[in-house]
Symmetry: C2
Subunit: 350 residues, 2 copies
């Protein structure tokens, strides 16, 4: 994600992700309120972690919703007890712009703050430490690329493309395997870190059930960006092998696939899963420019570190032209992304 708050920053180009939080708000409030069990607890402090927080105003928006809900829950369920002190941990990779995030923090806030650098596919907190874990729009980022897609001898070698959409079934399968492995690691780490009766709410970017089987026929923004890179390779502005070896570490699961992975983890109980309604890219990013800037804010860092910064303007100019000519991608009917809301509880420690 692009740090800072410039025109191409993630902080200024994340209205789509904000849409996801807006769509989840009512459900998030209801589920936390109903399922948080305070029966056996005398909290002195209450710990909350946002996994994959990124750096921007959305991060604080979600925390506000959660804290408001908790304050309501504590005051109504334990009217005679002192409300605990809240401590919020913002987690993301060490290269995330934590300083920009810290600069956004309101000086007066009803919680203590800490930033936690590190991959959420590993352990980041002591055992049984967190009362509430949360993640929004982050569990589509793979910890690494599946190695087969860069292996020229493998049937999953992803030549001339930068993602699995539009590629062979073997490429999609390699991504899916990597995703399963990663989400299992995520759930394993969180099940260790969640306190007894701890809750975890996830908003996971995905596609509808059945999409993956038919994905070979769909175009996507990633395919369009990949075709721009291939155009540049044909014009010898970049090397074709650099495009072949560039792949996006992003995977969109389906509700069915995600449910299967969660159920295979014995320590977390799936309490709720539903697809959030009312999040459409054409609502939150109504014009071409915002669609281009969104993709740039999200992908620029990856492209820069693989190809160098000098190709960025040229690439996104080409992308912008192609997007304008594409009746397909900008058509609301073809928007297939969904957001999957999931609520999990920690089974009691035995």
């Amino acid at each position: 994600m692009n740090g800072g708050d410039g025109p191409s920053s993630y902080a200024r180009n994340s209205s789509y992700q904000r849409g996801a939080i807006d769509a989840a708000e009512a459900l998030l409030r209801k589920e936390i309120y109903q399922r948080l069990d305070l029966t056996d607890h005398s909290f002195s402090s209450f710990t909350i972690a946002d996994f994959g927080c990124s750096s921007g105003p959305n991060t604080l928006l979600a925390v506000d919703i959660i804290i408001q809900t908790l304050l309501h829950k504590f005051s109504s369920s334990m009217p005679n007890a002192k409300t605990p002190e809240f401590q919020v941990f913002f987690n993301d990779l060490p290269q995330t712009d934590f300083n920009s995030l810290f600069a956004l923090l309101p000086p007066q806030r009803p919680y203590f703050v800490a930033g936690v650098p590190g991959s959420f596919y590993g352990n980041l907190f002591p055992k049984a430490y967190l009362n509430l874990a949360y993640s929004s729009c982050a569990l589509c980022w793979l910890s690494d690329l599946p190695h087969e897609i860069r292996d020229t001898t493998s049937p999953a070698y992803n030549k001339g493309r930068i993602h699995y959409t539009g590629a062979s079934a073997e490429v999609a399968q390699a991504y899916s395997c990597q995703y399963k492995k990663d989400i299992k690691s995520f759930l394993c780490a969180r099940s260790r870190e969640l306190a007894e009766d701890g809750l975890m709410a996830l908003i996971v970017p995905g596609v509808p059930d059945g999409f993956l089987d038919s994905q070979a026929s769909t175009g996507s923004e990633f395919d369009l960006l990949g075709s721009c890179l291939m155009d540049m390779a044909r014009e010898r502005r970049i090397k074709e092998e650099d495009v072949d070896s560039f792949n996006l570490p992003i995977y969109y699961t389906t509700p069915k696939e995600l449910e299967d992975i969660i159920r295979s983890n014995g320590e977390l109980k799936l309490e709720k899963m539903e697809t959030l309604e009312g999040i459409y890219a054409y609502d939150t990013m109504p014009d071409l420019e915002s669609r281009v800037q969104y993709l740039r804010a999200v992908l620029e860092g990856l492209i820069r570190s693989h190809f160098g910064h000098h190709i960025l303007d040229d690439l996104f100019d080409r992308y912008s032209l192609k997007l304008a000519q594409s009746s397909f991608i900008l058509n609301p009917q073809t928007h297939k992304s969904i957001m999957i809301f999931t609520l999990l509880t920690r089974r009691r420690y035995i």
Copy 2:
């Protein structure tokens, strides 16, 4: 402090502060080992905070010493119990370069990490949260400048100078009052945050008892820097009133003064106070260039925000010339800075 790891960064110009940690190491190990009371505890996790951590390798050095000592203590005092998981909180102001600090973290480390942005003169953690608090070379930074020194009608108005050394007794007095207020706030916040039987080790930059009374006759590096600014004002490169309104928010206490402030706090008990031996600027910064870069790394940010970045090279070139001509400051005999080691314990909650 200058972030990043460039030639003027604090990370590359903090050998003096490293000297303080080296000089404190044996005492820190001994005091933590002897005074940490594990009798009534069954720790699941053990929390450590470094207040005013800054961003550089020194930060991790101190943590390594502390963690090694704790591992030794737990294994020898509770050989049959599982060693708790350690969680280290790095605190400094939000504008501190946390990303550079996070980039220095060793991938394999025996502790969890979080960065805590905020002033240590306020509360940063829930009540009774910390098992061990620590601060090195940070408790000389004031939370703010005493307002009198910028008030043209006050006897403490600090015209033509940037610090209290060499100034009138009223200026020194105004700094001293601000320091007392700040350290009281620091101790009040920490006494709330420290867990029962919690320890706090402080390495506080200071000057010997008696120094403040005679300071009017001493020259200092800050005075020299102030005289360079005044030279620039006389040459109309900067405005004289900008020099008059610029003052360093830095104060060096004496052991006696610090002891009095600590004793006025009823919740923390002073277990030990001594002056560390063997820290000399001429040992850790043997050449002129390292002395200049040290001051630049520490003060550049303050100067830039007051005067603008365009004066920096000119100012430090002038400073370098004056320092080379000064037989006084580079003479080891005139080095008056000391480091005061202090160990405090949290009185039991009643």
